[in-house]
């Protein structure tokens, strides 16, 4: 038990700092969301306006634009398929590394991590030339293959500790009951580790959804993802209605935020494992 605290000015200051940090964490985003509901006259004001007549024009403009909808479609397909490939190839490999130790296990883990060291620009330039030569430049297929490198390695990296934290006794009991190696993976390890695994998969999705540089270099018109489309909206100069830009930022930010709960649960489970 901790001794009761005396109320001291230091604690009060500490609480104020934390409250301010919370404000800083969410206010810029809330302000953007608010701006997406404003007419231009209410945004371009020297004194920020909190009271205004809301409009849905920006949002309906964004949703009505073909380029935005194509970007959304491309993002969903490219990220969805890449994550699926990451799951299919990454999870079994992670399980094998976690449960069947061999002398390469450490090297494999380091190799998977080291893929993260590669500067994206160093990967994107040669890939652009390769896809151009194969006639696949500016296609979703090229983007999916490139993103798979990201999703497989990240899912593997995060799933290895998740599988390791499954109690060995559970799996051994299943072997005694006559389960084969594969059915232990399917029926025991996967379901028991599911919570952490979902966190790992969600993390890989957020990573590729937010990816920008590779998508920028591997697409010119057909395969543009939502981040690229959103960034282009801003390049039309200051004459573009700012409300529309804000609305596109909100649209782009919503999918990753849907995973807020899953990812914070994942974080908790990672550190609960460490404690025990």
């Amino acid at each position: 038990m901790r001794p009761p605290y005396r109320m001291r000015p230091g604690r009060l200051v500490g609480k104020a700092v934390l409250a301010f940090a919370c404000f800083m964490a969410v206010f810029p985003l809330l302000w953007t969301a608010l701006n997406s509901l404003k007419n231009n006259v209410d945004i371009i004001t020297r004194v920020p306006r909190l009271v205004f007549t809301p409009t849905l024009a920006n949002i309906s403009y964004i949703i009505g634009r073909d380029s935005v909808m194509t970007g959304l479609y491309n993002s969903v397909i490219a990220c969805g398929v890449a994550v699926l490939i990451g799951v299919v190839l990454g999870l079994p490999a992670a399980y094998a590394v976690a449960r069947y130790p061999n002398r390469w296990a450490g090297d494999i883990q380091f190799f998977v991590l080291s893929l993260r060291f590669l500067p994206p620009v160093a990967v994107a330039i040669p890939l652009m030339v390769i896809w151009l030569q194969l006639g696949l430049y500016d296609t979703l297929a090229a983007l999916i293959v490139t993103y798979s490198l990201l999703t497989i390695s990240v899912i593997m990296w995060l799933a290895i500790p998740a599988f390791q934290s499954v109690p060995k006794e559970v799996e051994e009991a299943a072997f005694v009951d006559g389960y084969g190696a594969y059915s232990v993976f399917w029926r025991i390890a996967l379901p028991v580790a599911a919570r952490s695994l979902i966190g790992a998969v969600a993390f890989s999705f957020v990573l590729v959804w937010n990816e920008f540089l590779i998508a920028l270099m591997l697409s010119s018109s057909n395969a543009k993802t939502l981040p690229i489309v959103a960034s282009e909206l801003s390049q039309q100069g200051m004459n573009v209605p700012w409300g529309i830009l804000n609305a596109s930022v909100v649209l782009l930010s919503l999918p990753p935020l849907l995973f807020l709960g899953v990812l914070s649960g994942f974080l908790n489970s990672v550190f609960r494992q460490k404690k025990t």
Binding site: A21, W31, L113, I125, V129, I130, P227, L263, K275
Partner: protein, 288 residues
Amino acid sequence: MPRRSSLPVTFIVPTLVILLILSMVPTLYAIVIALQNRELSSTAYSYVWLSNFYDLFFDRRFLNAVWVSVKWEVVTVVATMAVAIGLGVLMFEVASPRLRNIYCLLFIVPVLLPRVSAAFVWKFAYHPLYGIATYPYRLLTGGLIFDPLSKPATALFAVASVDVWQWGLFFAVIVLKLLETLPPQPIEAARLDHARHWQIHAYVTLPMLKAPLISLMFVKMIESLRSFDLIYVMTRGGPGVATETLDMYAFSQGFIESGKVSYASAMAVLMMIATVITFTMLWKRVQA
């Protein structure tokens, strides 16, 4: 575990083969391109061997980009760790468990945002006339104009602040969780010795967490290499070349200004060699 099973082979080999192909083909090809003189505008090319690398050493913009990248790396890593440890310790000290949960949830919001979104949000906020972040300055000075993104002295820090906004708050949550995993006895003992709160953390808890904190810093160093999105949206490397990092310069050489793909690739290869060597050495030390 059964002794003999085909599982490790069937599960690991296909995945590793695919990962090796997907990573080695572009990596090796990047080196090949760097030894050529490819340009976007033409399909003809020949091998020029090391002349791209030789040119780089006399390219003042490249040397500037190296310097900007180093500054970016140091500023973002140090500031992120400072914010994370400061807020993490504060939460540990003054927040009740319920409040901690709320803080943790809110503090992960920024890092989940696409970098492009975060960059936009703050680009508006830093707008000299209408921005919400520059409003307090306008209010206090009676309408003076402060434009952080277009001043060479402040632009890098303004962009870096967005990076710290995303990662510092997120890492604060991790620091708190790390503090929560510590056994309470040493902290109790220090309290009984009348140690002050900051002393407990400076001399007891943080030294106990040295290894995970170094790993955390390592992760941030890797993530800081991905500065491109923020800089591309917020400043495009400007004003002048004040925020032009290596990836930004490689991109503009390869695609915006001159289409010198090989020259850009030479830059990327140098970056790759530097980061792979640095991080491999650091990682081995962290693990040891």
